[in-house]
């Protein structure tokens, strides 16, 4: 049984990776290039040197946050399409606090204040669809999509009309709360945007895991996502849990904003989210809504994204975008398919060697269908 469970969790990504490699090969061949050379360039440009690694880590940091945001929503049965604007709101919140605090603020308080502001701003953007869903039954997909337009347009207006540095679309630089780059400790990372916010995000991953699987709130949140009727029966307050889930989801997306604002540029810039919120949906999907899976998936998508730049001279970097689509399809298709195959193989093994009556051994894997 244990071996089956292991195979079920490890095999699907390997199969998906195989599909991606084959699809990539075909695309590369279509451009008249040698697949081996392109893949090698992609690998060298990402994990082959410190700068590449730094860039991958930087991109993965934001994607982890937006991926977690979508994942937490899905765990509660809610599809949060608003991570893009929640991410922007979080970055804006962090920038506002960083600009408002005097430069003399002790570093630890300044960072804490900015991080908290990012979370609160994102949570605010997430709470709105949550409340509308809980109070009026407004579908969160529609509301979060609309919120993207509203929040992004609002931020654009505020920055353009009130806060921007002339000739630019970004705010003034923050005076407090900036996070150093990785290159300040490891010179090899010089030039890459990777910064210490990745440690904060690692802590957030651990925190998200703890929240989902170790707290009562997480127990109730997952219960609502799996079986709302049973959660209600179990005394869970459904409306409150829905609001809470979307609020936490928004906060996680908002926290992604510190990577750019505190760690990279030191200011809020219009459009900095750049699709990372939407890509978070793919990250959550591939990461199977598990915090660790999200982290791995974020690294994977960041690698593809950075790799696209590395191979731009050989094939159009849009190839990478096509591959991202293939990843999603491959994962969506391969996970159930591979599991089914693994289970069938296990069934045959049991049928041949295991004399236990099906009432004991068999019932452990497939329920229901027998009667």
């Amino acid at each position: 049984m244990r071996r089956t469970a292991f195979a079920e969790s490890v095999l699907p990504p390997i199969v998906a990776l195989g599909i991606i490699l084959v699809a990539g090969d075909l695309l590369i061949l279509a451009y008249g290039e040698a697949p081996g050379a392109v893949w090698r360039t992609l690998a060298e440009g990402t994990w082959g040197n410190a700068y590449g690694i730094g860039q991958v880590l930087y991109k993965a940091t934001t994607l982890t946050c937006t991926g977690l945001a979508v994942a937490i929503g899905l765990r509660a049965g809610l599809f949060n399409i608003g991570a893009e604007s929640q991410l922007a709101a979080g970055g804006f919140g962090a920038a506002l606090v960083g600009m408002a605090l005097p430069a003399s603020t002790p570093w630890i308080f300044a960072v804490a204040g900015c991080v908290a502001a990012a979370a609160i701003a994102g949570a605010g953007a997430g709470a709105v669809p949550g409340v509308l869903r809980a109070k009026f039954g407004a579908h969160e997909v529609i509301v979060t999509i609309m919120m993207n337009f509203i929040v992004l347009a609002l931020l654009n207006y505020i920055v353009a009309a009130r806060l921007h540095v002339p000739e630019t679309l970004h705010t003034p630089t923050i005076q407090a709360g900036a996070l150093p780059r990785l290159s300040s400790a490891f010179a090899a990372f010089h030039g890459s945007a990777a910064n210490w916010s990745l440690l904060i995000v690692l802590a957030i991953v651990a925190g998200a895991w703890w929240y989902l699987f170790r707290t009562r709130a997480g127990f109730e949140l997952r219960a609502v996502g799996l079986q709302p009727g049973a959660a209600e029966y179990g005394g869970v307050d459904l409306p409150r849990t829905l609001v809470r889930a979307l609020t936490v989801s928004g906060a996680l997306a908002g926290l992604g904003g510190i990577n750019f604002v505190l760690g990279y540029k030191g200011y809020y810039e219009d459009g900095f989210a750049g699709g990372a919120g939407f890509l978070g949906i793919a990250v959550a999907l591939v990461g199977r809504n598990h915090p660790v899976g999200v982290l791995v998936a974020a690294l994977f998508f960041a690698t593809l994204s950075q790799g696209g730049l590395a191979i731009n001279a050989m094939v159009p970097k849009q190839m990478v975008e096509v591959l991202q689509g293939v990843v999603i399809l491959a994962v969506a298709a391969s996970v159930p398919e591979v599991r089914r195959t693994v289970r069938q193989a296990a069934g045959r093994r049991i049928g041949k060697t295991d004399p236990t009556p099906p009432g004991n051994a068999g019932a452990a894997t497939t329920p229901g269908s027998v009667g």
Partner: protein, 516 residues
């Protein structure tokens, strides 16, 4: 096969059937032999593989191994279309009717009479009337299926199979949703259809039905055919032993507690007063119901499903708002209280639908054993895993939940063991009043005995228990008082001594009522 046998060719012969679903062996060396024109029972616990065997016979699923013969012809691996053409018809447990079409339209669906290229409605109605007369299945061809009672809908289902020319009728637990008079009527119809030469296989786990209407019995256990017997030569105990593989005490048990009656403390354990509840479609799904259950008493509510029981239960548990009236636990008003507050006030609830309400199927056994109590298993900011594990170990041992693995997803358990998880959780919490809804639905014979004993023990420990069940036998076996719910009202309440199936039957169909 073609040798001139002295015994006539059996209508159905299945031998050495093997069917595997993933890791589950649903059928292994299963078989059945049904003679022409007999009523044959296929019995076994839930998950014994009865339905699988019948699905193979009706062509819905192919067997992995084995041989299927119908009327002496090898039909192994045939399709549903071929099965229907050969006269094998299955009446499913869940009706497969189109509610927006009339009875006649449903019956002829797929084989519509046609005149000049268009559907000949008049002829459909005539055909159905004709068939109805022949078979004794009384239906109104022009009524909408959506307006039918469950019993009528089932008659339509059977007519549909007969219309398609079924000579071998497979009925999957046909009485699960019927009231006693409807059941009696069904037996009448089956006997009449049988006289006309139709062979009937009845899938069931109700032993009184088997004894009443069938001639021969095939018993399955763990996917295997373990016994074949003639009904006249066996007893319910004998069948139960073959089904479970050990001796089982059937029904009865301790009669309405002598001890508890003496020790019965005065007072109100669980009570509702003038309760009104709105249903999804009906304005007064619960219409002015009042009752009071004393500590140490079981009030059983019998009734055909869909007469407001679900709404009553949900309102009492806090899952559905009340239009008017009040609910009290131990004399304390909880009418507007949340589910959790009711639990803390001493209410325990075995819900009627364990798959949608009672369990989170993807959660582990240990997690399901604290569902509804999660606020009591908190240590600091997180859940107290150690306490959850300890609780699971205790409940699994005490309630004999199998397999004894607390981290297994509940989905992987058999129906009986899933229900034991619910029962274990609800009976081990600190409670004064218990709502037990369909506590043994879809549960095998062995587990039924266990659950009934657990409910009796709770009663004897001074709990006030409301039992709602579609199984009249269960209500009669367990209750101190019996009420019948019909059309949203309690139409009669009797002491156990004055209640039996004959007395209650007319109330269950609405033929009699005793409301002031």
């Amino acid at each position: 096969m073609t040798a001139p046998a002295r015994t006539p060719v059996p209508a159905v012969r299945m031998t050495g059937i093997v069917k595997r679903f993933g890791a589950v062996l649903a059928n292994r060396d299963a078989g059945i032999e049904v003679a022409q024109g007999e009523i044959h029972a296929l019995v076994g616990e839930n998950g014994a593989g009865k339905s699988t065997l019948m699905k193979i016979l009706s062509g819905m699923q192919p067997a992995d191994a084995g041989r299927v013969e119908v009327g002496g012809r090898d039909v192994t691996g045939w399709t549903t279309a071929q099965a229907i053409a050969a006269g094998v018809g299955m009446v499913h447990q869940h009706f497969m009717l189109v509610p927006t079409l009339t009875v006649a339209e449903n019956v002829v669906l797929g084989r519509e009479p046609v005149s000049v290229g268009t559907f000949d409605r008049a002829r459909a109605v005539r055909d159905v009337e004709e068939l109805s007369k022949q078979s004794g299945l009384v239906v109104h061809p022009e009524r909408l299926v959506a307006d039918l009672s469950v019993g009528e809908a089932q008659r339509v289902e059977i007519l549909k199979t007969l219309y398609r020319g079924a000579r071998i009728l497979l009925l999957d637990e046909p009485t699960a949703v019927l009231s006693p008079p409807e059941v009696a009527e069904l037996w009448g119809v089956l006997r009449r259809v049988r006289v006309a030469g139709t062979t009937i296989v009845l899938i069931t786990h109700k032993l009184d039905e088997v004894m009443n209407v069938t001639e021969r019995i095939t018993v399955m256990r763990h996917g295997e055919t373990v016994a074949r017997m003639a009904t006249s030569e066996t007893t319910p105990e004998g069948i139960a032993r073959a089904m479970v593989g050990r001796d089982v005490r059937l029904g009865g048990g301790a009669p309405a507690s002598a001890g508890a009656a003496a020790a019965k403390p005065a007072g109100e354990g669980l009570a509702v007063h003038n309760l009104m509840v709105r249903g999804a479609r009906v304005e007064k799904a619960v219409n002015d119901i009042s009752f009071s259950i004393a500590p140490g008493e079981i009030l059983g509510i019998a009734g055909v499903e869909g007469n407001g029981q679900t709404e009553l239960l949900e309102a009492m548990a806090g899952l559905r708002p009340v239009t008017a009236g009040s609910i009290a636990i131990g004399g304390r008003d909880v009418t507007g209280a949340s589910v959790r507050a009711r639990g803390d006030a001493g209410l325990s609830h075995i819900p009627e639908d364990r798959h949608n309400r009672g369990l989170i199927l993807e959660y582990s056994v240990a997690d399901n054993l604290i569902l509804g109590l999660q606020h009591r298993y908190v240590k600091g900011a997180s859940l107290d895993r150690a306490a959850i594990e300890a609780n699971a170990a205790k409940q699994i041992a005490e309630f004999d939940i199998r397999p004894a693995n607390p981290s297994l997803a509940v989905r992987a358990l058999s129906g009986g063991n899933q229900q034991k998880v619910v029962i274990a959780r609800e009976l081990s919490r600190d409670f004064a009043a218990l709502i037990a809804a369909q506590p043994t639905r879809g549960v095998d014979v062995g587990a039924i005995e266990f659950i009934h004993d657990a409910l009796r023990r709770a009663r004897d420990a001074g709990k006030a228990i409301l039992l709602v069940s579609a199984e009249l036998r269960e209500v009669l076996d367990l209750s101190d008082r019996v009420a019948v719910m019909y059309g949203g009202r309690l139409v009669v309440t009797l002491p156990r001594s004055g209640a039996n199936e004959d007395v209650l039957g007319p109330y269950m169909t609405g033929a009699r009522r005793e409301v002031a």
